[in-house]
């Protein structure tokens, strides 16, 4: 019986429910002192003077770092792995902290105060006096003086941001039915419950500097490289540790001011330093989803065949980041449209840097597309599901490649059953209960099914147990659990006898956890390592005269239920541990890796799904509640239905939050965040979150890997916003084209 596919309880669950799981800020490092950050109250200008005397003299203060005295840093690399760091379309803010007097956004760190206690550090930080030479900040996309047209997303030549397929202008001119609509989405923040934190400790190892970093990172190896480059250290002299992450959702990967400031402070005071950022700070330094203004233009025949699609995005980044929310990710592949164009314009503002947030591009870009499709359906007087079926893409419309696996029709069919789609009155504003209008809406969802390269190490012990390790991350994705299941199957051992470890840069390399790629990436690596260690064990047994397998070629031996046996005679064999014990080996280790192959060139890899929503709108007060959400997903084979269900409903709820309530506002004059805490930035509470019905098709993807599993971290978030927004239209007859749908926008006026 394979362990994969079973709804195993989380193996780290006991630690999490007892409070024993250790998150970054919780490491007890002897001699630890505390850093507190002073940030900029203006968005553009320079620090004219910074008076640290009062802070320096405050009780317990060990040092105050400013741009005037902080250690110098080397520039960030241009690229790490395949990811472009710098320039238009690059992923990160290239500005390094405390290296100059220039101010590019409000909330930018200007000083770090280090003291012996948290309270003293925080208080001393309030004593630092900054004199600014301010300049007018640019805070509006429409009027920004620096606007660019980034060529690619993160330097990936397969994801160009300015694309034309066919002849969309001519097709639009010829289309009997045309629709153009503008959709706007607000700045949103990931707001994982765990605060950003770093503990940095310097020491001498063999006479050389060595940095140990505990950091809230889902990118152990990237961070290791960034720190090594910035601090001019060999990569091996940086050790990054993070066995548990308290949620990330796209944050905690690509912005490095927090660990760099901590490492600098620790260097200066010669003691380990912890900086745990305040929630307020996270609205400036933790990354965000930028606001978007998207124009969708559709041309169609009267019978609902879409002939042209244009999706033009205006979004923004900071002064020193080229990150561009790739809003056309859904539009470019979802429907069989012969003529398409996609453009992304990036305004550089004096606002904090954006970064990926759950479903980057897909969540807000898919919202705009799927709302426009709903509008077109209404215009054509077609059922929204029917319009989608009439434009069903049998292959990728941009590249012409066949899908690796696509069963979206089944998702639509099952979803409409679950919600009771056909029993609704399709007429907008026709359903009511008391003071509330009732509405139904739906949308398609998708997510690219990426896979990258990873390595893993497998160790068999003489007592018959095994350990598999890879430098991947546990951020609620169930990595400890799912990779233990995969490893157990690959080692032909019961899950109880296998452990999986992660979260340490000294383990075999695994990429950043993001883009819903981790299962498809690390799973095969764990399998490869398991296979390698079993091969080594087979050779050992074959060479051992005392083994019943003596003389057998490795190809003649197979692993079965913790034993190596002869394929031809499964009764002949012995337990793994027996082989090791007899050969006096405490353990046997093998490291191996796995990477995608040419299948990536042959097929287009995506997951799909359909989301249906039922909403209640009280127009008099402007309140909107989601009564039901149903989602049916085609995500390949599931490794663990229990953790998968959680991840998908979590994604749907995050999509619900973006639709109903999430927005960060910055003062339009100063650029200072005026929503910067969890009382004003509303994430869905328990009272906002309905029960969600989730089903999946469970059809393995035959091409992605032997596991047949695609990632599921983000697909739940995509699609939900449009399903809810379209349900609001059905309830009220009103098209609201600006997220979030807060009461001020919904209220009768």
């Amino acid at each position: 019986m394979p362990a994969t596919g079973k709804p195993l309880d989380r193996v780290d669950g006991r630690l999490k429910v007892t409070g024993a799981a250790r998150y970054t800020a919780e490491w007890d490092v002897p001699g630890l002192v505390y850093g507190a950050v002073v940030d900029s109250s203006i968005a553009h200008g320079t620090v004219q003077a910074i008076d640290v005397a009062a802070a320096r003299n405050a009780p317990g203060v060990l040092a105050v770092l400013t741009h005037e005295n902080a250690p110098r840093l080397q520039p960030l690399p241009d690229k790490v792995g395949e990811t472009q760091f710098r320039g238009e379309g690059g992923i990160t803010e290239t500005r390094q902290p405390l290296q100059s007097a220039a101010i590019e956004y409000a909330g930018q760190p200007l000083a770090v105060v280090v003291a012996d206690t948290y309270e003293r550090a925080r208080h001393a930080a309030t004593l630092v006096r900054v004199t600014y030479a301010g300049q007018a900040p640019q805070l509006a996309m429409a009027t920004a003086s620096r606007k660019t047209l980034p060529e690619t997303f993160l330097g990936n030549n397969k994801e160009k941001l300015q694309v034309t397929v066919g002849n969309p202008e001519a097709a639009l001119a010829a289309a009997p039915v045309r629709l153009e609509a503008v959709y706007e989405s607000a700045i949103t923040h990931h707001n994982p419950l765990e605060l950003l934190a770093t503990i940095a400790r310097w020491e001498k190892r063999d006479g050389a500097d060595f940095l140990t970093l505990y950091d809230t990172t889902r990118a152990l190896e990237v961070l290791q490289e960034v720190m090594a480059t910035s601090l001019a250290l060999p990569k091996e002299s940086v050790h990054v540790i993070c066995p548990f992450i308290g949620g990330a959702f796209g944050a905690k990967g690509w912005l490095y001011a927090p660990p760099l400031l901590t490492a600098m402070a620790a260097r200066v005071v010669g003691r380990p330093v912890k900086i745990e950022w305040r929630r307020q700070d996270m609205f400036a330094v933790a990354g965000q989803r930028a606001a978007t203004r998207q124009t969708l233009t559709l041309g169609a025949t009267r019978d609902g065949r879409i002939t042209a699609l244009r999706h033009d995005t205006l979004t923004h980044s900071s002064q020193s980041s080229g990150f561009t929310e790739p809003c056309a990710r859904v539009s470019r592949m979802l429907y069989a449209v012969p003529n398409m164009s996609f453009a992304h314009q990036l305004a550089h503002l004096h606002l904090p840097s954006p970064c990926p947030m759950r479903g980057p591009g897909e969540t807000v870009g898919g919202w705009a597309l799927e709302c426009a499709i709903d509008e077109l359906a209404a215009k054509l007087n077609l059922d929204p599901v029917e319009l989608r079926l009439r434009n069903y893409a049998e292959k990728n419309p941009e590249t012409g490649k066949p899908w690796s696996s696509k069963h979206l029709r089944e998702c639509y069919a099952r979803g409409r059953q679950l919600i009771g789609w056909d029993a609704r009155n399709p007429q907008p504003r026709s359903m009511r209960e008391g003071t509330q209008l009732i509405g139904y809406g739906m949308a398609t969802t998708m997510y690219p099914a990426g896979r990258r390269e990873a390595k893993a190490r497998a160790t068999l012990f003489a007592d018959g147990r095994a350990l598999v390790q890879s430098a991947t991350h546990e951020l609620g994705n169930g990595a400890y659990t799912v990779f233990r299941q995969i490893s157990a199957d690959a080692l032909a051992l019961p899950v109880e006898r296998v452990r999986f470890e992660l979260g340490d840069s000294s383990l075999p390399s695994a990429p950043t956890t993001g883009g819903s790629t981790t299962t498809a990436t690390v799973g095969p690596a764990a399998q490869a390592a398991a296979q390698a260690v079993l091969e080594a064990l087979k050779s050992l047994a074959g060479r051992d005269p005392a083994s019943p397998l003596h003389g057998a070629a490795p190809e003649a031996i197979e692993a079965r239920e913790g034993r190596l046996v002869l394929k031809s005679s499964p009764a002949t064999g012995e337990e793994y541990g027996a082989i090791l014990r007899r050969t006096k080996l405490p353990s046997l280790v093998a490291t191996d890796g796995a990477k995608p192959g040419e299948e990536r060139e042959k097929y287009s890899f995506y997951s799909f799904g359909a989301v249906f929503a039922q909403v209640r709108v009280d127009e008099a007060s402007g309140t909107l509640r989601v009564a039901r959400l149903c989602g049916v997903y085609d995500v390949g084979r599931l490794m663990n239905p229990k953790t998968a269900h959680s991840q998908i409903i979590g994604g749907m709820a995050m999509g619900l939050g973006a639709t109903l309530m999430e927005a960060t506002h910055y003062d339009a004059r100063t650029g200072r965040a005026v929503v910067r805490n969890l009382a004003d930035y509303h994430v869905p509470s328990m009272a906002d979150t309905p029960d969600m019905q989730v089903e999946w098709l469970g059809i393995p993807d035959p091409h992605i890997s032997e596991l047949g599993a695609r990632g599921i971290g983000e697909i739940g978030c995509v699609g939900t916003a449009a399903a809810i927004t379209n349900a609001v239209f059905h309830a009220t007859g009103r098209r609201l084209r600006s997220l979030p749908l807060t009461p001020d926008k919904l209220v009768n006026s």
Binding site: D9, R10, V11, G13, L15, V17, T18, G19, A20, A21, R22, Y23, A25, E26, D28, P30, P59, D116, T117, E119, R120, H123, H190, N191, P192, L193, E194, R205, I241, P243, F244, G246, G247, F249, R279, T459, F461, L475, G476, Y480, E501, D504, P586, S587, T643, S646, Q647, G650, M652, M654, N677, L678, A679, V683, P684, S685, M686, A687, T689, D691
Partner: protein, 339 residues
């Protein structure tokens, strides 16, 4: 808290026993030994263990090749086993430091959910074998070099699983030592947490949350916003749920404080903890202690007969979960309510 009365006391002679690798404990006489008892369950603290070993190495002899030993050998002394019983451990996580004569020189019991701190082990080792005044890596009074000590310790590293512990009851050592260095402005604060009394010297500005996490290393209580806007720091004060981030530690004196570390009864999980596990009522786990403390207080509260899903959604709206495990949390609570 489990009873400590049967624990083999400091100064007692350690009983002999057969170890998991077939050797005898008495074979290790002549060198100090750390014995760590832990439940035979997995804890992904590979890095954490390495960290403690690295600290030990740094203090007692650089370059000792033991990290691999620790990585590859995570076998524990089962805290429910025969040897554990001989040491009076009986299901608890515990750590004993034996000197070269097999005498218990230091021991500590680890409460459920608590964690061992490197500083504490170091302090105990230092106390056992004070470093020479010149700080050089010289011979010790016992005739063992630091290097020998580490090697000897690691010979017993098959035994060494450090699952974590915290200051024992009425522990006056670690926090107060730190506090003394901070000088004036401190006030004496006595806190009763999970049935134990802790006497601390604290800055009056210290929030209960920071006292728990930074001073007492009870890090199960989480900081998510520090302003009463997320619920992650929920504890019980006199049985009612409260936010430790908005409670000054100095104002929590005289109250019965219960944290997530005190929710289970020894190794036995609180029914809500077990139900959370079963229903996958968390993902990243960061809000989970707060959810559990809020829910467990709610179940005891006569005021709030929250039974239906709708009532629970309203009653527990003060505990944000960004992973949105809410439906599973409700399912878990309702299962416990039915039981």
């Amino acid at each position: 808290m489990a009873e400590l009365t049967d624990l083999l006391p400091t100064g007692a002679s350690a009983p002999d026993a057969v170890l998991s690798d077939g050797s005898r404990l008495s074979d290790l006489r002549g060198r100090p030994v750390i014995l760590a008892f832990a439940p035979d369950e997995w804890n992904p603290t590979h890095a954490y263990q390495s960290e403690i070993f690295a600290r030990l190495s740094q203090e007692f002899g650089a370059g000792a090749a033991f990290v691999d030993t620790a990585t590859e050998d995570w076998h524990a002394l089962d805290c429910r086993g025969t040897l554990a019983a001989q040491f009076g451990v009986c299901g608890q996580q515990a750590l004993f430091l034996l000197d070269e004569h097999g005498i218990v020189r230091w021991q500590t019991v680890v409460g459920p959910g608590q964690q061992l701190r490197a500083g504490q082990v170091l302090a105990a080792l230092q106390a056992l074998h004070p470093a020479p005044a010149n700080g050089a890596s010289g011979e010790w009074g016992s005739g063992l070099s630091r290097r020998t000590f580490v090697t000897a310790t690691l010979a017993a590293a098959a035994l060494l699983l450090l699952p974590g512990c915290s200051p024992g009851a009425d522990d006056k050592s670690a926090p107060n030592a730190q506090a003394a260095a901070r000088g004036s402005g401190q006030v004496a604060v006595t806190l009763t947490i999970n049935g134990k009394t802790h006497r601390l010297q604290l800055d009056p500005r210290v929030a209960l949350l920071d006292a728990l996490r930074e001073e007492l290393h009870l890090t199960g209580t989480k900081k998510g916003c520090d302003h009463g806007q997320c619920g992650a720091c929920t504890v019980h004060l006199d049985g009612q749920s409260a936010l430790s981030c908005l409670t000054l530690a100095v104002m929590a004196q005289g109250k019965r404080i219960t944290t997530i570390e005190g929710l289970a009864s020894g190794e036995e999980l609180h029914p809500l903890q077990a139900a959370f596990l079963k229903h996958d009522a968390f993902q990243c786990g960061y809000c989970t202690p707060g959810q559990l403390m809020a829910a467990s207080a709610l179940l005891q509260d006569p005021h709030t007969p929250a039974g239906s899903a709708v009532e629970l959604r309203e009653a527990l709206s003060g505990n944000l979960c960004r992973c949105a495990a809410y439906p599973n949390i409700i399912a878990a609570i309702q299962e416990v309510q039915r039981a």
